[in-house]
């Protein structure tokens, strides 16, 4: 019976996996054992014959038949969805910021209005400037105010019913986030940009509303400035 140790060496030699020490070991064993030499010859012959089996051409219409059978599905790229989300988030943030700049330039100081704001992804370098913990109630969790590059952003890590919206007020401006509890798994955060709001030490009033009813409030302080 051939010992498994050198059977492995014979196979590894065929597969080109031997190092110098193993090659020397195999040579020594082959010299000493005619049965091992015969076995090695058999395996080498077998593998040579295997490698010589000719490839077969696929049927001529295979490609066309596959293409004809493809389902009419739009294919989405799950693997780069996170990347896309970052791109969209950056795009949304850019559009919001540009819109706010144009808005402020054209509008100037005016009475309070209400705008619907989009969500963004918070940049890793964003700085936490204030946070409020909400007690258990219709809305519970944490609301945090961040400085994200040249603007402020509010991050909501809250539990709320799908019908709950948020009104954000500061310095006579009002922004609105609809359905803060919608379409997000529990424990996930939602972040909104606050373009042009409260950059100089003013407060940011956050009001959670379910229809006409106020179901929670939080007040956050923006950083002071020169």
């Amino acid at each position: 019976m051939t010992d498994p140790g050198y059977l492995e060496l014979i196979h590894a030699e065929i597969d080109g996996e031997l190092d110098a020490r193993q090659r020397a070991e195999l040579s020594r064993r082959l010299l000493a054992d005619p049965a091992a030499r015969s076995l090695r010859d058999d395996f080498q012959r077998l593998c040579k014959a295997l490698d010589a089996v000719a490839e077969v051409e696929p049927p001529p219409q295979l490609r066309e038949s596959i293409l004809a059978a493809l389902p009419p599905l739009p294919v989405r790229r799950a693997w780069y969805a996170p990347l896309q989300r970052w791109r969209y988030a950056a795009m949304v943030a850019g559009v919001v910021a540009a819109g706010a700049l144009i808005y402020e330039t054209v509008r100037g100081p005016m009475p309070a209005t209400s705008e619907v704001v989009g969500t963004i992804a918070l940049a890793p370098a964003a700085i936490l400037v204030d946070a409020v913990q909400l007690a258990n109630g219709p809305v519970s969790g944490r609301v945090s105010l961040y400085r994200d590059r040249a603007m402020l952003a509010l991050r909501f890590e809250v539990k709320a019913s799908p019908a709950t919206g948020v009104q954000i007020t500061s310095a006579g401006r009002t922004l609105r986030v609809d359905h803060i509890g919608q379409d997000r798994p529990p424990g996930t955060a939602l972040t909104v940009a606050l373009p042009g709001i409260a950059m100089r030490g003013q407060s940011v009033q956050v009001t959670f509303r379910a229809g006409d009813r106020t179901v929670g409030t939080a007040t956050l302080r923006a950083p002071g400035g020169p």
Binding site: L7, E8, H11, D15, E17, D42, F43, R45, L46, C47, A49, L50, D51, A52, V53, A54, E55, V56, E57, P58, P59, L62, R63, S65, I66, L67, A69, L70, P71, L73, P74, V75, R76, R77, A78, W79
Partner: protein
């Protein structure tokens, strides 16, 4: 790949053109029957198209498509009547040296012998000797450790060598 993942059929057609031969040949060596191999090749590409969203480009595309092909072929084998397999323990009647086959007949003898070993052994033989893949690629495709790949490959060669010897091909 990105164009394929966006649903571009022309780009997918190019992928088919590039991989249809190895996929068809892998299926053929596993199944033997060209019609079955054609079906498996077609199913492989259709499944690949449907699941392009789950393909991650950091992995090798050929590993992914070969994995689908091998699984499809093994499934097709499972659905068919099992062939009589050899385990290395049976002793067939030993033919004399006059039955030694020549090189052009060796391929046929090998194909016959391959069909007599278990599908998991056949799969490693096909991937190694017909697809010329590394242990690592085989491990990725079959989702088994490299150590198991080697063990199966060595056993498969032994079984094949013994079978061919019994058939007089050696």
């Amino acid at each position: 790949m990105r164009r394929c993942q966006d649903g571009d059929r022309e780009a997918f057609g190019q992928l088919i053109a590039r991989y249809q031969k190895p996929v068809f040949n892998a299926a053929l060596r596993l199944l033997r029957n060209p019609e079955d191999a054609r079906d498996v090749a077609q199913t492989t590409f259709l499944k690949a198209f449907e699941h392009l969203a789950s393909y991650e480009p950091r992995f090798k595309f050929y590993s992914w498509i070969y994995r689908i092909a091998v699984n499809e072929a093994l499934d097709a084998l499972g659905a068919k009547k099992p062939v009589e397999e050899i385990s290395g323990e049976e002793q067939d009647e030993a033919p004399g040296p006059e039955r030694r086959v020549e090189s052009e007949q060796m391929s046929r003898a090998i194909e016959d012998a391959l069909m007599r070993i278990k599908p998991e052994f056949r799969a490693v033989m096909v991937l190694r000797h017909f697809m010329h893949l590394s242990y690592q690629d085989m491990s990725d495709i079959l989702l088994i450790p490299e150590k198991t790949v080697k063990s199966r490959l060595y056993t498969a060669r032994q079984l094949l060598r013994d079978d061919l010897a019994r058939q007089g091909a050696f």
